[in-house]
């Protein structure tokens, strides 16, 4: 597990670094929200899940999707709008989904997915399955009414859902202290949901906390809330590389880097093994880049294919 967690955080880091290069070169149009710095959260949470479980993700979703086991070549192809992408190029960075892996989609509307995950988890249990849902969201989402409403439904109906708040300190440029009255965990506790603050830079701590929540959920005891404290090392979105917003100091960003999840987990792996993992990840991402760049662009004539699930009634 130590090695696997390292591989996941390393894979996400290098995927994101390469994706940023593809934004710069224009292969990825429109930019991305890099997950760099927060890798331990996705790695730890997803390591606690079974293949039959489900997740929902956010605008900053590449890490969640990769940690859940999606093919990096198909995620990259999605970011490039190619036919071999996870969503056949129709969704892009903020909508990556792989239903075969229980990834019900990244979501571009902050706070929207928490209730979707809650409904999915409830329905799985209703149909006799022991599926658990994990739903990721940021500190900013804690101020969206629809997410707080989801906490209430999940608690009332004892839904097997893990609410994973990635508190990276900011919603775009808004510091969490200026945005959240009271406390993040206090909000979940107000609904009777057990809530814990976890070191979100350490994948093993995130894994342990998630695993106990998942056990509770499978035992029919309802939701758990995890506040994973973390830090976004890079821009809110790659547009920020061009605009240089001054909402945080360079000292603060370097202090963030001093707790790099890749180094924290990497230090637990023997040097030779670490080098082997790194090499395997590079080879995988080289192949992913080749595959994505070689994939066909979708045909504009099919722009509205998939618009309806029952197209028969349409003219």
């Amino acid at each position: 597990m130590t090695r696997d967690l390292y591989r996941t955080v390393r894979l996400i880091r290098r995927f994101e670094e390469r994706a940023i290069e593809f934004v710069r070169s224009g292969e990825i149009v429109g930019g991305i929200h890099p997950y760099i710095g927060q890798e331990a959260v996705a790695a730890g949470v997803c390591a606690a899940l079974r293949p039959s479980d489900v997740i929902t993700s956010t605008h900053r979703g590449h890490g969640h999707v990769l940690a859940r086991g999606a093919d990096p070549a198909r995620l990259l192809a999605e970011l490039m709008g190619r036919e071999s992408g996870l969503n056949k190029g129709r969704g892009g960075s903020m909508h990556a989904a792989d239903f075969g892996l229980g990834i019900l989609g990244a979501n571009a509307i902050v706070g929207a997915a928490g209730s979707i995950a809650t409904g999915a988890a409830w329905a799985h249990r209703r149909q006799g399955r022991d599926t658990v849902a994990a739903t990721f969201f940021g500190d900013g989402a804690m101020n969206e009414g629809m997410l707080l409403e989801a906490f209430n439904l999940a608690a009332l109906w004892r839904v097997p859902v893990i609410f994973v708040c990635e508190n990276n300190g900011y919603a775009t440029t808004m510091p969490v202290a200026s945005a959240v009255a009271g406390s993040i965990t206090g909000r979940a506790r107000a609904f009777g949901i057990p809530a814990f603050t976890v070191d979100g830079q350490d994948p093993e701590k995130v894994l342990a906390a998630t695993a106990s929540g998942v056990d509770r959920a499978r035992a029919g005891k309802g939701p758990t809330f995890l506040e994973c404290t973390t830090y976004r090392f890079d821009a809110h979105h790659t547009f920020e590389h061009r605009t240089r917003l001054t909402y945080r100091s360079t000292e603060e960003v370097s202090a963030g880097w001093s707790r790099d999840p890749v180094e924290i987990q990497g230090a637990r792996v023997a040097a030779a093994e670490r080098a082997a993992v790194d090499a395997e990840v590079e080879a995988l991402l080289d192949a992913a880049a080749g595959s994505a760049l070689g994939s066909a662009h979708p045909d504009p004539a099919a722009a509205l294919e998939y618009l309806y699930a029952s197209p028969e009634v349409m003219r």
Binding site: G81, R82, N87, M94, G111, N143, P298, P300, L307
Partner: protein, 323 residues
């Protein structure tokens, strides 16, 4: 002086705030001016008049209604057009209804601005909508300026208006720059369109960023002897019916280009109004997004579902041939 559309909106905000201490701004990341709409305004007017909000759109939209009921003139910036879906209840069912439901006891002068409406290259399905027709449908005053001067003038008028007004600033128009003398910037009345280019063979009705497309198509077609009049209503609701019918009385042919979905969209309304009042030499046409359009991410697919110049040229030829 060159003035960009975005800078014109920024100037309008600054002038409106300087003119009236009741005007204040609310929105996400507006103190650092992430979208540039509010650049410089925090320094000029201070934090009491430039409020960064938590991500609580439904609450801060009704908060603005409350502040308006108590005498203020709030201006809300929404970072992305789909946030208007999130706050549709707060605008359509609250802000819009107070005046009538209270028997005229109050007014709700809130302005909602979306800098970057419609498709933004690469932002995909949930960030690329252009829902001005929805607000027209519920009867909320709605403007979609096409030029820097109109962006300035319509935003100032929206803020001074005593009702809620939604201002769509299409992402395709934000970068437009015009040579302007700042002294000529004046309020532009709501509900009054303009002839962006006079012509005699066909009226093309276009809004927002599509006015540029209509003008360049008009230029192109003048080379083959087709005289296109471009009518820019500027305000989606209330529509300048007189301006529209005056133009149609001259040309007797109509094409509407509209970045809405087709069914029940703005173009459908223009066609209906024209059909009720005007006589045509050929059946009018509309160029729109397809029904139910969800903008796919891949660039060529995104472009394929947006109304464009080629579609417009085809539609113009069609109305001319049928006469």
């Amino acid at each position: 002086m060159k003035l960009s559309y975005l800078k014109a909106l920024n100037r309008a905000l600054g002038d409106a705030m300087a003119d009236d201490p009741a005007v204040f701004l609310l929105g996400e990341d507006i103190r650092v001016a992430a979208s540039s709409l509010t650049a410089g305004l925090l320094g000029r007017f201070g934090p009491d008049r430039v409020l960064d909000t938590p991500l609580s759109e439904q609450a801060f939209t009704n908060f603005a209604t409350g502040a308006a009921l108590a005498g203020m003139r709030p201006v809300i910036e929404f970072q992305i057009p789909s946030l208007l879906f999130l706050v549709f209840e707060q605008i359509a069912n609250q802000a819009h209804k107070f005046s009538l439901m209270t028997g005229g006891q109050c007014k709700v002068p809130v302005t909602y601005v979306v800098p970057g409406s419609g498709s933004r290259t690469g932002w995909a399905g949930q960030h690329s909508d252009h829902p001005y027709s929805l607000f027209a449908h519920v009867g909320v005053k709605t403007v979609v300026p096409a030029t820097p001067a109109d962006a300035y003038g319509l935003l100032v008028s929206a803020i001074r208006d005593d009702d809620p007004v939604v201002v769509f600033a299409p992402s395709g128009a934000l970068g437009i720059r015009d040579d302007l003398d700042f002294g000529t910037l004046v309020p532009v009345p709501l509900g009054v369109g303009r002839v962006a280019r006079p012509g005699s063979d066909v009226t093309v009705v276009a809004l927002g960023h599509l006015v540029q497309d209509a003008l360049s198509v008009a230029d192109e077609l003048s080379g083959v002897g087709i005289s296109v009049e471009v009518f820019d209503p500027r305000t989606v609701y209330p529509l300048d019916v007189d301006g529209l019918t005056t133009s149609l009385a001259r040309t007797r042919r109509l094409v509407v280009i509209d970045d809405s979905n087709r069914t029940s969209g703005f173009a459908a309304e223009v066609l209906a109004v024209a059909a009720e009042r005007c006589e045509f030499d050929s059946p009018p046409r509309r160029v729109t997004r397809p029904d139910g359009a969800v903008l796919p991410f891949a660039l060529a697919l995104d472009r394929a579902v947006q109304p464009g110049r080629d579609h417009l040229v085809t539609a113009i030829h069609a109305v001319l041939e049928k006469s």
